[in-house]
Amino acid sequence: MTARLDIVVVYPDLLGTYGDGGNGAILARRAAWRGIDATLVQASSDRPLPRGDLYCIGGGEDGPQVRAARNLVADGTLAAAVADGAAVLAVCAGYQLTGRAFPDASGRAVDGLGLLDVTTVKGRGRRAVGEVVADPLPSSPSPAGRAGLPVLTGFENHAGRTAVGAGASPLARVRHGIGNGDGPDGGAATEGAWSGHVVGTYLHGPVLARNPALADLLLGWALGGDVALEPLDDREEEALRAERLSRAGRR
């Protein structure tokens, strides 16, 4: 097992609007509680991106999203780290910019990083805002020692509609909410996407607070493959999940 783990929160100055910075904090704590020497770096957009084992990219507004994508393409570190096996959790605006293309505020396509084979366009209908419940697909990745990811819960807030290409797989099937919005007429079908060690999702909450198994999947990847992590006392997360799952669809 790698003794050290470098976790990098990408550009919190640009992509830190929806509390997604919490994902990095959760990963660092879950590693530290297991005796792993985890370092959490908040990587500002005015400096070169540091090399890390696990990157978290959060949600943000339209303008900063375009700047973040341009910076990351020009910087090159993230793509190189992913090629070397680094894990990535990308949320909302971060998910969109890891794909091939996403829309700017006016709807014009902007080049993404191409780390995930997904393409986002501006949705024609209303912004997707609300609770999401989504069932992981049988083909979705599983944390070592577990039979698949449990049902995903989160809160979405986005206008984009994302199509998953042949080079990536959807993460889950939407039970409640919109997710990728890749169903008929921009309706619900799948949520998120993954390939290799890169996961993209529309879920805030932050997503790892409400889905600790996903946190452990990412930690396992970042530690170098099929590492089974010792279980933690997740009773408070389970209580939150049970409450959110029972409330979805009711307000």
Binding site: G19, G22, R29, S45, E61
Partner: protein
């Protein structure tokens, strides 16, 4: 304008406001301001503009401090010893229906002071032609309802760009988003009121460049355009208020915390910049500061209530900036030797709060390590998970009354920090 001066449609609308408000109060459905205002606006969409005609209107907006600053501004505009003759929306009903209700409730008031939700500022400015607009701060809040913070700043800018010198904007020069919006106005009084939460102002709102702050000083500037902190007419100093000539005048504020000194200064500068109304001249800055010095409680904030045999000091915090300001206050008090009582944190995520409590992860709860904490409210489970990762010892109790009893077991009083609807329910004893 008096009712007799309104057209038949507006008179009918005013009648509807009164009837609906009376009915709603009798039925016990809230304080009755919003229902009446809605009914009036449905009959006459231009009702707000008509009711504002002939009155001086001051407007207060911003993410945090609106209610407190509005209340302080009312006080600052009221000469000592005279009855308050200002129309104002004290209940937090800060959208058009609430403004209509406030003006209908005080038909004879020649001066109005209206708190407005950030998203409705443009409409209120257009409808009322204000003499003063106070812009406190802008940061992330209720992202599922209000547009993203930069879009709000753009809407403010557009609303103010059309105003002539008859509208004075009193703007916080320490907030880059506020500065960006306010500098479009013809007449601005810049105030150095401080900034609790700078994370939303790192990217330049004008050009997308990077806003850099001076180390050790209040200055800030964009590194690629001309947006920068303007020279101020007044700013907070450790020992009072520093005026543009360098002179420091004393300021006494009974409300606790640095953020309330900021609210008080903004209110005082606004009062001094206001136009005379109903034969009452604007106070000087010193007079305004004196009038608001003794205000000790605004709309229940920092008030102590007794619930289930426990004395609880109620504090309101709705978003990361607001929570950070309250955590600063607790630190300030601990440093000054005040004992740290058990703490109840209450978080809801109803419509008025925003349905997504992800913002809990932007609040530095780590600073509460070592304190005794009880998590409660509709979303206490989200809060419990947040506190777990902040490594703050806590217990969770879904029922606020029971949470207060738990915290008060030791017999002493407790401190409560609650977000909007959680605060309201605790204050009203629901």
């Amino acid at each position: 304008m008096t009712a007799a001066g309104l057209g038949w449609r507006s008179r009918l609308a005013v009648g509807a406001v009164r009837v609906a408000n009376g009915a709603s109060r009798r039925l016990g459905q809230g304080s009755g301001t919003v229902a009446g205002g809605r009914a009036g606006l449905a009959i006459d969409p231009s009702l707000l503009a008509r009711l504002a005609t002939g009155r001086r209107v001051a407007i207060v907006s911003g993410t945090n401090g609106k209610t407190t600053t509005t209340s302080l501004l009312v006080r600052a505009l009221t000469p000592a010893g005279s009855p308050t003759t200002v129309a104002t929306n004290t209940t937090g009903a800060n959208m058009p229906a609430g403004h209509v209700a406030a003006l209908v409730a005080s038909p004879g008031a020649s001066r109005a002071v209206l708190e407005v939700d950030e998203g409705y500022l443009a409409r209120l400015v257009a409808d009322t032609v204000p003499d003063v607009v106070v812009l406190l701060n802008l940061s992330r809040d209720q992202l599922d309802r209000v547009a993203e913070v930069r879009m709000v700043a753009d809407a403010w800018r557009e609303a103010l760009a059309g105003r002539g010198p008859e509208t004075v904007v009193v703007a916080n020069a320490d907030d880059p988003l506020v500065t960006y919006a306010a500098r479009a106005a013809t007449s601005v009084r810049w105030v150095g009121a401080g900034l609790v939460w700078g994370a939303d102002a790192v990217g330049c709102p004008a050009c997308g460049g990077r806003v850099r702050t001076d180390s050790g000083g209040p200055g800030w500037a964009c590194d690629s355009c001309d947006l920068a902190r303007p020279p101020t007419t007044a700013e907070l100093a450790d020992d009072g208020v520093r005026l543009d000539g360098g002179e420091v005048v004393a300021m006494r504020v009974a409300l606790p915390g640095r953020f309330n000194r900021a609210n008080a200064l903004m209110a005082a500068v606004a009062a001094a910049a206001s136009a005379p109304a109903g034969g009452i001249a604007a106070p000087t800055l010193t007079e305004a500061l004196e009038r608001i010095a003794t205000v000790g409680e605004v709309a229940g904030r920092f008030g102590v209530v007794r619930r289930g045999g426990v004395d609880a000091r109620l504090m309101l915090a709705k978003n990361p900036a607001g929570w950070t300001a309250i955590l600063d206050l607790l630190d300030e008090e601990a440093r000054s030797g005040r004992p740290s009582p058990p703490l109840v944190l209450a978080v809801n995520a109803r419509t008025a709060d925003g349905h997504d409590p992800s913002w809990l992860w932007d609040v530095p709860y780590e600073r509460l390590a070592g304190r005794q904490v009880v998590a409660t409210g509709d979303r206490c489970r989200d809060l419990a998970v947040r506190l777990r990762y902040a490594e703050v010892d806590h217990v969770t109790d879904t029922d606020p009354a029971s949470a207060l009893r738990r915290a008060g077991q030791g017999g002493g009083s407790v401190d409560v920090i609650a977000n909007y609807t959680a605060f309201r329910d605790l204050r009203e004893g629901r």
